[in-house]
């Protein structure tokens, strides 16, 4: 029994929201412990500050009862008097509905977590989405080319490249790039990579060049290889044989028949790639001192900014879930057989 496309989309969306909520619940369970530790020390700090302020104003120490009542009011304010599960639940709800509030420490010049993430996201998109577009263009065209001549020099080179790249840490390649182009060849000024923020569009573009090169270099081989495999798989299907037997020219077989059939997995890959690029790569951004999502995560980690980390984790989860749902929906749109399977399961 089939399922209408609209119904299928709704089914997938509800499913995704449930999964996302559960993920936030799990993350909150882990985070509440960290947040509790941090908030407890925050309360201690605030009480001390209050005592100091009071002493200065009234020229005498506040009484023990006064200190205790102030401490209790702070504990209430930070909801530390609540049981663990309740704190976790409130934390989950707040995070899930984007009520991220303020962090105790400044990152990127602000404590407002939403604007921290907005700033970071824009920069990550600039770097990683640009790179991803390059990767897709180069990877797809090389993949298609090597699928046309399996076993050729290009084909073997791509396989080896993909194999090597899969065992290289991208951030390490980044370190090598800096060593080579900045330190040894001196093509780019060292100040670009020794500091986080860079001003001026020309400088930002210059700063981008090396990470873009790194990301493309490490990732395009894998892309080309996967595209090649999908295409070769499709080329062995019966309808290609039929087309060949009918005497359709090889070019048209590849770019017309086969590519159309191979579209769903390739489009899925593109979507995963593009959405995945929004999350950046934590360590690569640290290596290049690029002030995006990954760098924000690292600064939050260093400064113990628990709420910022939680919000970022949520963003990463949203991106993953979003790409999975979009891929599923597109798959279903392009290949209606999928929906039947889902219907049979549900």
């Amino acid at each position: 029994m089939g399922m209408s496309f609209g119904k299928y989309v709704a089914y997938r969306l509800v499913n995704a929201i449930i999964i996302l909520f559960l993920a936030v619940l799990l993350m909150s369970a882990l985070f509440t412990k960290l947040a509790t530790i941090q908030l407890t020390s925050q309360v201690d700090e605030e009480v001390q500050m209050w005592v100091r302020g009071y002493t200065q104003q009234h020229h005498q120490q506040p009484t023990k009862e006064m200190i205790e009542s102030y401490r209790e009011s702070r504990i209430k304010y930070y909801r530390l008097d609540q049981p663990y599960w309740k704190m976790m639940w409130m934390y989950t709800i707040d995070t899930f509905f984007f009520k991220w509030g303020n962090s105790f420490v400044k990152v990127f010049g602000t404590t407002d977590i939403i604007s921290q993430i907005k700033t970071a996201l824009a920069r990550t998109v600039l770097l990683f989405t640009t790179s991803e577009i390059f990767i897709i263009l180069i990877g797809l065209s090389l993949g298609l080319k090597s699928a046309r001549h399996p076993g050729s020099l290009l084909d073997r080179t791509i396989s080896i490249l993909a194999m090597i790249a899969s065992s290289l840490p991208m951030w390490w390649v980044g370190m090598l790039m800096i060593l080579l182009f900045v330190v040894y060849l001196g093509w780019l000024p060292i100040t670009l990579y020794s500091q986080v923020e860079v001003s001026g569009w020309a400088n930002i573009l210059k700063k981008m060049s090396l990470p873009v090169l790194t990301i493309v270099l490490v990732s395009f081989g894998g892309w080309a290889w996967t595209t090649r495999n999908i295409m070769i798989g499709t080329m062995q299907e019966d309808f290609i044989m039929v087309a060949r037997a009918k005497g359709v020219p090889e070019r048209r077989i590849i770019y017309g028949h086969a590519l159309k059939a191979a579209a769903p997995p390739i489009i899925t890959m593109v979507i995963f790639g593009l959405i995945g690029s929004l999350g950046g790569a934590i360590i690569t951004e640290i290596v290049f001192n690029w002030p995006g999502m990954g760098r924000l995560y690292y600064e939050a980690l260093q400064l113990n900014a628990v709420r910022t980390m939680m919000a970022l984790n949520y963003m990463f989860a949203v991106l993953t879930v979003l790409s999975m749902v979009l891929a599923d929906i597109l798959y279903a749109y392009l290949d209606p057989r999928i929906r039947i399977g889902a219907a049979a399961r549900s």
């Binding site: 194999m163 065992s167 090598l176």
Partner: protein, 514 residues
Amino acid sequence: MRWVDFKDSVKRFWSEYKHQKSGMLGLIFLIILLVLGIAAPYLTSPDMPKQWQTGEAWIVNPKNAPPSWENVFSNQKLADQKVYTIHDMKVAESKNGSYKVYTLTFTYNMDYDIPPKDIVITGLKSNASRPQDNPLISVYVERPAEQGAKVEKFLLLPDTQLPSKGVLHLSYLKEVKTLLFYWLYENGIVKLPMAPPEALPMEIKLMQINQQIQLDSKLYGYFQSMDPMRVLFGALTENGQLRTLDQVINDPKALKGNYKFTIVIKAPENIKVDLSNFEVAMVGRTFGILGTDQYGRPIGVGLLWGIRVAIAIGLAVSISSVVIGILIGVTSAYLGGWADEVIQRITEFFMTLPVLPMLILLSLYFGGRITLKQLVLILVIFGWMGTTKVARSMALQIKEQTYIEAARALGASTGRIVFRHIVPQLLPYAFASIALSVPGAILSEAGLSFLGLTSNNMITWGQMLNVAQQNGATLNGYWWQVIPPGLAIALVGLIFVLIGVSLDTVLNPKLKRA
């Protein structure tokens, strides 16, 4: 499966695997790595992971020194690290009043354009409890003969206390600098306003010279900017003519040849002195095969020990997660119905969680710095889902085969069907995916270590890169701190990919591609 069948299938597998060129290459490299990893304690010392952190062992090493073979490619030869232990020295014992006197001599062949960075004396043990009982050390140098120079043998370090486990860095001692100035004065290079009388005891003479240097701003400037080692190992003359003070200090030229060092240790008779660990290090400007990091730790040693953690984590994580993944996948497929549904939803849920942020989160939950066992556990928690998905789909096909139905009809138990009939068929897939998932585990470990989240009780390549990053190794051009650890990570990854792909080709002939 009978033993004979097993032997037979292993034989068959091996005869096919032998022909996989890349697979054999991977296997050979893996064996080399395993041998190196096992040999690490014997090649270095068994308590290396502890020493690595405490740093006591690295006091005599230069910091951020490039590998010594870099000299081959440069026209200026930099001094290499050279350590003299008590076995490399001639030892003579004598008595002087109520003092025991040990005279140690050795010859250093200075054959470089840039002399050592420092001379470090360490490893003297004594049972002195009061400062006045500490052994006293003085050092004399006899430089190679030089035409035009008057004084070739002179005192470099006057009687200086060395408490038990103490360290003397001669480059940083004011007495050494003053004595070098005095020696330059004796040779006629430094002009002191007032000649210090010969007859005075050394301490008073030093005080007097110091005073004169302090009062003369020009002399004081030279005194401050002097690199004692460049002067000690530098030429005093040029073509038989004395060089000026400015040349000696600001444009030093190395004087190659044999330098004879005499170290005199004086200790009160009732104090026991143990010289067995005594060391004098000519601190190099280069070090060993792979140089040092900013704490003076040899990169080569770290690289060698890192093999153990990399292989241990890689194998432990990939084996556990593949085994768990297959068990869950097969269970899911075999049970079917709502149980299958629940397991699949849980699997998808885990796939949805962003891996690195979750790893960071969990390591923070475990208390910031996670141990090896916790790390394996965390990586397994986030590593089983892929295998489960594949194992389930394979098991669903196998389940429908007639012989399974036959077995069920014959009354075989669920466990028997699963473990005798379904799981063995998945083994080829399992082996290949174990090998293929090793690199991922090693990369994850390296990433977490790079972020400084793993325990200090082990030496890992990721931590070495973390140290390098904090040291600004890339921007400073310390390539030996960046390239080797990353290359090691990549190499191990590549080895397992090669083995995995070959296993895949041999064991899963169905997957053979065009």
